[in-house]
């Protein structure tokens, strides 16, 4: 099967091949979904927002200039921000990531093929990090997710979020400082160190 690059797939979609758009969805859904789930903390809402972002991307595809991925991720991030804003207007919806229901991201993390003890430790670690992430302001959370989980550079984050590099740096710094405080308070950093050492050996 021929593997097309993003620009070729975009061209095929513009030529009327809707299936080519679903190839783009398959390719980018994981990244889009992960940004949403980390931003929103709710698996189903994250899937809905990611899918709506893909539909919006399709709608505006003829106006795409430049690369598809950063453009798509900008749409995804905007979608997340809209949902967070509407949640703030209706505060009954919570951002609690530590619910013990099977759909929460924290519970999905446990199945990693590690031994039971290591898996439990990892699961707890990830649950605490997810909880800490929910504690920091939305704009800082977005930047730290893009940088530390999605691995984007400052410039990529600036392009994606429409803020300048100085703001990216300061938001990232504040986010990390707050996360550091929360992880230190939870006495989690020594466990991260142990986990890192175990992973490296």
């Amino acid at each position: 099967m021929v593997q097309y690059e993003d620009p070729q797939l975009v061209q095929l979609v513009l030529d009327g091949d809707t299936e080519a758009f679903n190839d783009l969805v398959e390719r980018h859904q994981s990244r889009a979904y992960n940004l949403c789930v980390r931003m929103l903390g709710d698996a189903d809402a994250a899937a809905d927002v990611a899918q709506d972002a893909f539909i919006s991307a399709y709608k505006h595809l003829p106006s795409l200039r430049g690369e598809f991925r950063p453009w798509l991720m900008r749409i995804v991030a905007n979608g997340c921000r809209d949902v967070l804003r509407s949640q703030k207007r209706r505060p009954s919806v919570s951002l609690d990531l530590e619910r013990d229901d099977d759909d929460t991201p924290a519970m999905q993390l446990a199945d990693t093929g590690d031994g039971p003890e290591a898996a439990l430790m990892k699961s707890e670690l990830q649950k605490t990090i997810a909880g800490a992430l929910a504690e920091i302001p939305d704009d800082q959370r977005e930047v730290v997710i893009l940088s530390d989980i999605q691995g984007l550079s400052y410039q990529e984050i600036a392009d994606m979020t429409g803020i300048n590099i100085g703001t990216v740096k300061s938001r990232l710094n504040r986010a990390r400082a707050r996360l550091r405080e929360l992880l230190v308070a939870a006495e989690l950093l020594p466990r991260v160190r142990r986990h890192t050492l175990e992973s490296n050996t």
Binding site: K122, N173, L179
Partner: protein
Amino acid sequence: MKTKHTITTQDMEQLSALLDGELSPANAAKLRQRMQTDVALQEAYTELALTQEAMRTMPTLKPPRSLRIDSQRLHQARGWRWWLISPPGGQLFPTLGVAMSLCFCLLFGAVALQPAESPVLKGAVTSPAAEAAPTDETILIASDAVPLAGSPWAWLGAVAGAGVLGGTARWSWQIRGRKRATKQ
């Protein structure tokens, strides 16, 4: 000798940038030198690195369902930009557009080139009968016949027509090119 200073927000920002490899080589060397003598900086750097490591332990999650979108829903989502690149009726619509803008251009061009005092436009006045006894009606016809003849407005119309013609032709050509590329 090692010391422990209070860390400023600027220090933290620099440590964060150092961690990401986003600090300039000169600033990075300066900060590393400071870290060798400042315990607080070292501790903060280690904790930041571990915090980042903790974030990186977060695995990639699989969506609970496929995010694929059925083609009917995609067609419904098409906005006006889609209409521009893929007009209803395929090539017919831009072809009609080219023909109409050509007519528009020719009409206004002809009017623009026509002198305002042209005898053709004032045909009724030039006829012997009318010359002999010009009536109010013939004068009215002559002055109202083509009021834009030779005026800048007619030129503007002709230029606008040419612009629309060029734009529509280009649009039509783009659609043809795209269709040809798809067939290949």
